[in-house]
Structures are given as structure tokens and as C-alpha cells.
Symmetry: C2
Subunit: 375 residues, 2 copies
């Protein structure tokens, strides 16, 4: 999905977002907080920021991080070219961090750079990388109407209450309850009022913004059924899942590049035909040594996979030129670029070549770059 | 972990297990119920069965499947050499399926093959592949003492109740509640009595065995804190996570095989040394054409990764012989065997060879079998 120019927000309201990213990630194991764990080479928080900045009608994105990670976060913003992002120092709990994020829109003394107060503020998590515009839009619309709104999901497990002796007290009827997920959205004045009113106990032990809006502003949040991709990266297995989903998303299309020698023309036709059953294919014939405009168009279309069919046994130089073009392109090449150079490719092995190409694209293993593979 | 001979159960009780595997997997999307989805080529249910059969003191494992999947399940049992497993036809809900599984221990007319009634019965899910003996043992011990017991986990999300208008009614204080997971265990007579007593409404709409024991037998189950690996495969992302965890588990050791030519001796030494920093290494020198007893020992130790270092450019035949030995071995070769044949391997490229080998082992991509990779 392309970043777009600023569009109109649902209902014409002004909207900004706060992403708390101050967690320590202790459930994950390991020293790196989960929001800074790399997935396909890129920190998780960067995916969440990208998901927000792709939504053109979100004006400002405030990322709240703990003091020791402010420089790390600023580096991430620069490296991945994030726009409209303000980094704010967090507190010692989730609620305190969100409160700090909100203050940037309201309290001049809190930040050197006071941001325009939005009508509606979205609160999302740095560790939920896959949020789509559709659910964000629904939650914002519902917040405008009801004052507060949040995405929910069915419970996966039955929820039970334990007694003081560690035995079952009672179990909840699963159908009557929901898991509260993110994104949530609020009329700014409501959630800011709630945070100003709430007690230290709420700030230190609470987990639920919807609860604060209810308790301090008598606002019953509208609950919006979300999709399965809203889940939160909590455990190591969730990082694995996130990586597989990102790989899947990157494996949707491939660009097959051939130079125009006659012997290759047929392979240049047959290989894309064979790949088409599994993946969207762009096939072009270019002279790699030129900064081809057709290739540039495909690069700017955010294709992440390039297959080069060549007829010279060790045409390393031409391949290197293609790599240079890709690396100089404006797309953030976050992932290993898979290049195959196979002079032995014959018509009858096209299907097996397509299978190898698909495997390489799906695994995205940088250790295999430069290997000569035989179909 | 090796399957062991029958050992003593915790507390000396007799123990059997029931695995409901009748679900339709509608939350996963796709036509195949999740318990039959292949992960690294092997159905998920087979991993759960294996986890149970590795525990030597579990006498019988009853797998309950829907009528249309009985033949599929029997094929799986045969293919993966599962022992002590009885397949039983399930009902239309989870509780009805579990009840059917229990009847095999109690009602002669229900099955041609009445199983010995255990003192304690474990109930586990076919879609929780990673359960370890330690937690099963704890739950069985607690069930012996308290009549019922179940594994629990902290809640990942806040749980909320919605009002009739789709707005928030109230949120639960997360710390007071737990997610009820599997395995659970019961004194057989208690859970069987509960199922006999319970209403059609319970059987059709209930989700929680601990609840039945409480409601019909006044038994407050002991709650046992479980580990993060007890999670249930529910969504497609969970299949991705399961696959990554299984690959991780398979990447713990490698067997490096060399023939004994002098030029290779040094590589055969240096390569294992380089790999040792990342993985447990067995290095052997064998004549591949013989059914070597040293190789057989390693195979029976359930090593899943074999690297062949060879000095002939296209020694396809020898490699094929090794593949044949592996395929004829008694271990269930569920996963692609990675074989590398690299005649160009030089001493100075040993580290890069080790990196490629690690990448291949971790990805386990069958499409790359037979490729000649250069370090």
C-alpha cells in the first residue's frame, strides 16, 4: 500500500495518534524490549509507525518511549524515513506513558513543540504491527459518536477466577466477554480529562484506557469487532508469527528481468508464465546497465523481489549493476533482495526454476545471496 | 527427547489421556481443520500425540475425531508410528467429544475394545503441540490431590463485558483473572460423573471441563501456572509460530559426514569447529556406500540434519546413497534432509560454509535439496 497525500478523516474530524512504546518486554525473554526487536531486519515499532503513517488523515504520531530508548527511536525514524512522528519520554507505567503522549497536544510547558490538539486521538500499540486503515477508521468514527471506542476480539481461552487457595472460584461464560484490543480512539477532551482525574493507583496498576473514560467521564466506549490481525506481539512465538506474515506480504509479487538476447526470449516468457500461478509477476526486458525507467516504475511500485535471467555464465557485473540500481532506489530495501542468475536454465526446467525462485522469495535468506542455483 | 519405556506415574496412579480433535477450525480459515494442518509436513495432531506418548507413564491415548476424519487419523497413526493410541468417534461439540472419549474407559457397549479405566485422566488439545512432561506431571499430581486440576496462564489482553447496545459495560481487573489452558486432569470418576450429570445445554454450549467438575461434583480444581508454550493453535499466525518453533527444535544439532580423503580431513575438522558455536555437532568419517554403524547410531539419536562434505565435483551417487540410508532408517524423517555437497570448499571459506549450512538447516527448504552451494 502506498503512502498517500493527506486525505479527509472519517467524519471530517482532526485525528492524531499516540503509540506507547515504553514496555520492557519481560514476557518475551531476552534483553531487547519487544517493540525494538528486529523482524526481517526492521524493529517492530517501525512497522506499527508505518501502519499509522500510511493513513493519510492522521496528522501527528506521538511515540512514547522510555528515556533510555529515545535516541534509538530517533535513529529508527531517520533510518526508515518516518514522517509526522514526535518522540516523547514515557513514564514508568503504560498509563503514565500514554498520559505523557497526550500532554504534547495540550500542555505547552511539557514540550518545546506543542502539537495541534486533535478532536479525536487514536491510541495504538507499538507491538501491533498489522493494523489496517479500515478498523482504525471504524474506531475513530465510533469515538466521534460515542466519545470513546475500542477494537475487541473473541476470547481464545475461557477466563477463570481463582480463589485465595489457588483453586478455581468460577469460570466466565466465554460468549459474554471479549478481549479488549487496540486501536482505541477517544474524543481528546474526554480521555485527557480522564487522565487528569484518575488516581495514582489507576496510573500505576491500570491497564485499560476504556475503563478510565468510563470511570472518570461516564463514557461507555463503543466496542468494534476487529480482525484477527490486531493481535499483540507478546511472546517469542508472536515474533515468529510476525516474521512469517511479513514474509508472506513481501512474497506477493516478483519482477522478472531479462536482457533481450534471442536465446533467452523464450525463457523470459515461460518463466513468468510458470510463476504466475503462485505470485503476481511483472516481466520486463531491460538493459541493466541503463537506469531503466520501466524498472524504476516497478521499484517505485514497491516490488521487493527481482529475478534476473541472464545468458552469461558469470555475469556478475551486470547482476551487481542491478543490485546497485535497487540499492540506490528510493524504496526502503529492508529485506534481502533475491537475485538468481542461471545461464543453464532450459525451457524444460522452467517449472523447477519457478519452484526454486518461489522458495527463495518466501524464505528471504540473505545467506543465499550470490549462490548459483540450478533448476 | 527419546520415547522411554513405561515409567512410574507421579504419585503412582494409573493415567490415561483424552485428546479431543474434532474441531472444524473455522477461525483458522481454509478447509482443513487446524489439527490436520501440516506443519513441516506433519499434521499438528501428530505432534500433540507424540508429546503425550513420550510420557511413558501415560497408558492409553484416546484421540477423538469427527466421523469423516477417522480414516485420516488412522493413517496418521500408522505413518508416524504412534503407539498406545485409540481413535474414537466424536460428537458435535467439544464436550460431547470428550464425553465419548471418556466412555471408552467405562462403557463396554461403547467400544469393541474397552480400555483399562485410569485413576486419573488427562484432557489435552490436539492443537497444543508443545506440552512438556513437567507440566503434565504437575497437573496430574494436583488432580490426584484435589480431584481436578488445570493449567492456567496470565491474560494477555484486558477482558471486558459488553452491554446489549454494543458498548462497554465493565472491564475486569486483569490481575484477578487467568486464562484457562490445557492440559487439565481429573480423577476419572469425578469427571465421568460430571459428564453423566450435565445438561444438554452444558454439552452443547459449555467450553470448560473445570466448570463441569465444579458444578456437578463440587470439585474446585487446583490451578497450576503453566509455561508460555501451552498456547493453542487458533489462527493462521499460530501455525506460522508453530512451524518456526518446530524448525528451531530441529536445528539443535547437525551431523557432518566426510569421507576420509586426506584433502578433506582438515575441512572435516574445521567445519564442525566453526558450527559448534551455533549448534551441537557430531562429526564422523564414513564410507557412505556402507551401512555404517556409526551413522546408524547418530540417526537413532534423532539428529535431523546431515551435511556431507565431499571431494568429487558431482558425487551425486554417493550423496544419493546417504539419502537412501537416511530414508531407510527407523527415525521418522518428517523433515527435509539438508545435504550439501561442496567440492570447492576451502579452508578459508569454512566460516562462510558454516553460515550457509546454518541457514539451510534453519529454513529446511526442500526446494534446495540437491543444489550445489559455494561457500
Amino acid at each position: 500500500m502506498e503512502p498517500r497525500g493527506r486525505g479527509a478523516a472519517p467524519g471530517g474530524v482532526s485525528v492524531s495518534a499516540v503509540l506507547p512504546a515504553g514496555g520492557s518486554g519481560e514476557r518475551l525473554g531476552g534483553a531487547t524490549p519487544k517493540q525494538f526487536c528486529a523482524v526481517q531486519g526492521r524493529p517492530l515499532v517501525s512497522y506499527a509507525v508505518r501502519a499509522m503513517e500510511r493513513i493519510s488523515w492522521i496528522s501527528d504520531i506521538v511515540v512514547v518511549v522510555s528515556p533510555e530508548n529515545i535516541e534509538t527511536m530517533k535513529t529508527i525514524i531517520e533510518k526508515y524515513g518516518h514522517k509526522r512522528v514526535t518522540v516523547v519520554e514515557g513514564g514508568i507505567t503504560r498509563h503514565r506513558s500514554i498520559f505523557n503522549g497526550l500532554k504534547v497536544f495540550a500542555e505547552n510547558e511539557f514540550s518545546s513543540h506543542l502539537l495541534q490538539k486533535p478532536e479525536v486521538v487514536i491510541i495504538h500499540d507499538a507491538v501491533r504491527p498489522f493494523v489496517e486503515e479500515d478498523i482504525v477508521s471504524k474506531v475513530v468514527m465510533a469515538a466521534k459518536e460515542h466519545g470513546a471506542a475500542g477494537a475487541i476480539r473473541p476470547l481464545v481461552s475461557t477466563v477463570i477466577a481463582s480463589a485465595a487457595d489457588g483453586c478455581l472460584d468460577h469460570s466466565l461464560e466465554r460468549a459474554r466477554y471479549r478481549a479488549s484490543e487496540m486501536p482505541q480512539a477517544f474524543l481528546f477532551d474526554i480521555i485527557y480529562e480522564a487522565y487528569q482525574q484518575c488516581t495514582d493507583y489507576d496510573l500505576d496498576y491500570g491497564t485499560e484506557c476504556l475503563h478510565l473514560a468510563l470511570k472518570y467521564c461516564k463514557t461507555n466506549a463503543k466496542l468494534v469487532e476487529g480482525t484477527a490481525d490486531l493481535w499483540k506481539v507478546t511472546y517469542k512465538r508472536d515474533l515468529y508469527a510476525a516474521e512469517s506474515i511479513i514474509k508472506d506480504n513481501l512474497s506477493q509479487q516478483v519482477c522478472v528481468i531479462t536482457n533481450v538476447k534471442e536465446t533467452l526470449a523464450q525463457v523470459g516468457f515461460l518463466l513468468p508464465e510458470s510463476l504466475k500461478s503462485q505470485i503476481k509477476v511483472e516481466a520486463i526486458s531491460v538493459s541493466l546497465s541503463k537506469n531503466d525507467s520501466c524498472l524504476q516504475n516497478i521499484i517505485s511500485g514497491q516490488c521487493y523481489n527481482f529475478v534476473c535471467v541472464n545468458d552469461k555464465r558469470w555475469a556478475i557485473q551486470e547482476t551487481q549493476e542491478l543490485v546497485d540500481v535497487l540499492e540506490k532506489s528510493n524504496i526502503p530495501l529492508l529485506y534481502p533482495v533475491v537475485l538468481i542468475l542461471d545461464p543453464l536454465l532450459l525451457q524444460e526446467t522452467v517449472n523447477s526454476a519457478a519452484a526454486v525462485i518461489m522458495a527463495l522469495i518466501k524464505d528471504r535468506n540473505p545467506e543465499l545471496i550470490g549462490q548459483l542455483l540450478v533448476a
